[in-house]
């Protein structure tokens, strides 16, 4: 579920970060605010908005159901979507930072050497931003595992399908005598978060060393 969220979210985040980092256009501040909205909005509100838009009666949700027979609400795919939306700002921020850190002079050099726009993007800009992209992905993955509000609102709490770790912990706490299970799950959550953070730190360091920074 989390892998799917990052898998779909990351390319979009790269595109969005690229647009925000490199172009100045009239709607830019609004777009920037929209991207970062899930970061400040209560997750339950985000989930509810998703429900309105992607629910079977929603403008996009009804189309998906009619045309492709795809239903997102209360499914694993829906949980992925909720996670992707929630972690999108984290990814965009990390990628945008590393894009802004990459020396625009190198793109100029690539240009003078005959590299066209996409050629430059894939062979110069993205490799230079790779630390940010990887770190963004890992942190987003770890955050997905712990997503609560948006998932429970949009995709409910179905064990084995849409149940994230905190949802399972919450469910366990509702049952008498579930403390042991909750503690166990919390430990798993803690370990995963720690691994995610350390891994991202380590990868960023390695990549930056490779780039000579």
């Amino acid at each position: 579920m989390a892998a799917r969220a990052v898998g779909f979210g990351l390319p979009l985040a790269v595109m969005m970060a690229w647009v925000l980092a490199r172009y100045r256009f009239p709607g830019r501040p609004v777009l920037n605010a929209l991207v970062h909205l899930p970061l400040v909005l209560p997750p339950v509100v985000t989930g509810w908005l998703l429900l309105i838009i992607f629910g079977i009666r929603g403008p996009i949700g009804s189309l998906l159901l009619d045309w492709f027979g795809v239903r997102l609400v209360f499914t694993t795919a829906g949980a992925s979507l909720a996670c992707a939306v929630m972690t999108f700002p984290v990814m965009v921020r990390a990628i945008r930072l590393s894009l802004e850190m990459a020396d625009p002079g190198l793109e100029q050099a690539a240009r003078a050497l005959g590299a066209h726009r996409l050629d430059r993007l894939f062979n110069v800009t993205l490799p230079l931003a790779s630390p940010g992209i990887l770190v963004g992905g890992i942190v987003a993955y770890a955050t997905c595992l712990g997503e609560f509000g948006a998932v429970i609102t949009f995709a409910a709490n179905i064990p084995g399908q849409t149940q994230t770790l905190p949802l399972a912990i919450y469910a366990a706490l509702q049952v008498p005598g579930g403390e042991a299970k909750a503690a166990e799950l919390s430990l798993v959550s803690l370990t995963l978060a720690l691994i995610g953070l350390l891994l991202s730190e380590w990868i960023a360091k390695r990549l930056n060393a490779m780039l000579g920074r």
Partner: protein
Amino acid sequence: MSLSVLLRHGFPSVRMDVEFEVPTPGVAVLFGPSGAGKSTIISAAAGLLRPDECRIAVDGQVLADTASGVWLPPERRRMGLVFQDARLFPHMSVATNLRFGLRRAVEARVQFDEVVDLLGIDGLMARRPHTLSGGERQRVAIGRALLAQPHLLLMDEPLASLDTLRKSEIMPYLTRLKTALKLPILYVTHALDEVAQLADSVVLIEAGRVIGSGPLSDIVARGDLPLAQRDDAGALLLCRVMEHDVGRELSRLEGGGATFWVPLLDAPLAVERRVRIPAREVILAGRPPDAISLHNIVPGEVRRITGDAARRSVLVEIALPGGGALISRVTTDAIVRLALSPGGPVLALIKSTSIEVLGN
């Protein structure tokens, strides 16, 4: 065959209006103080900046012309660009960096092995850019630009970020490159030693204008232009090694219509060498002195006398019979005592040890 450049552009602070033509192949140096607009010319030639009006032609081939709408983006222009900072791609090895432009070029006139050999970067292939020294990095950057098969090589202060030692390490490669590849080079600098060693022609730029342009030996000996008004001013002549007198430990050079004896050189006969004669080392005389240690008494004709009020001295240009020119810095009093005036004969006395023989 020539390289012609025209550029007009209004910046908020200064208006650029530059037009010059220099012979090709060869190195044309754009020389002038920082902020004069030298780098703007390079940016426009590379297509990174679009001026109001710009035309660039190499050997009759128009590479850019705003008037007729020939304005290709940098990636389709095929201009080799070398920056002050090498700008090597940090995520690629030296070899991959070198091949970046080559892989994207249509033809391959300039061969990979030739360039690698010319720049002496054979041993660096697997290295990462950040492990190279400044001089090595700049050599790789030059190689990368050359391998992109450019029509014109643009170098924007390529040695400015290097210390004197690194600079002298890279200079021989540049002179070799210049003779080995018949490629026109537009070279920006504000260092006189780079001009002396590399330039074939010089374009002097000041406040967005060309204040003088021509062959190196003419420009450096012009008392009315800024190069001669520096403390380190001096004439430059292309001389041929004619004779080694091992017994007297002297070598005889000829160039510009004069003969010079210098301390014995370690150079084969008949090769050409650039010779620099500092203006403050040239003594003027009306008739030949006797009983003097000096070897070089060069007859010439006074071409122009320019006052230099700041240094309370006078610059005298001396035309040599073979088309070359010397320049001498003397006092105003000396002019009066010798009764020197333009068109009159004069003898230039130069100590052998004052003559600087440069690489080539």
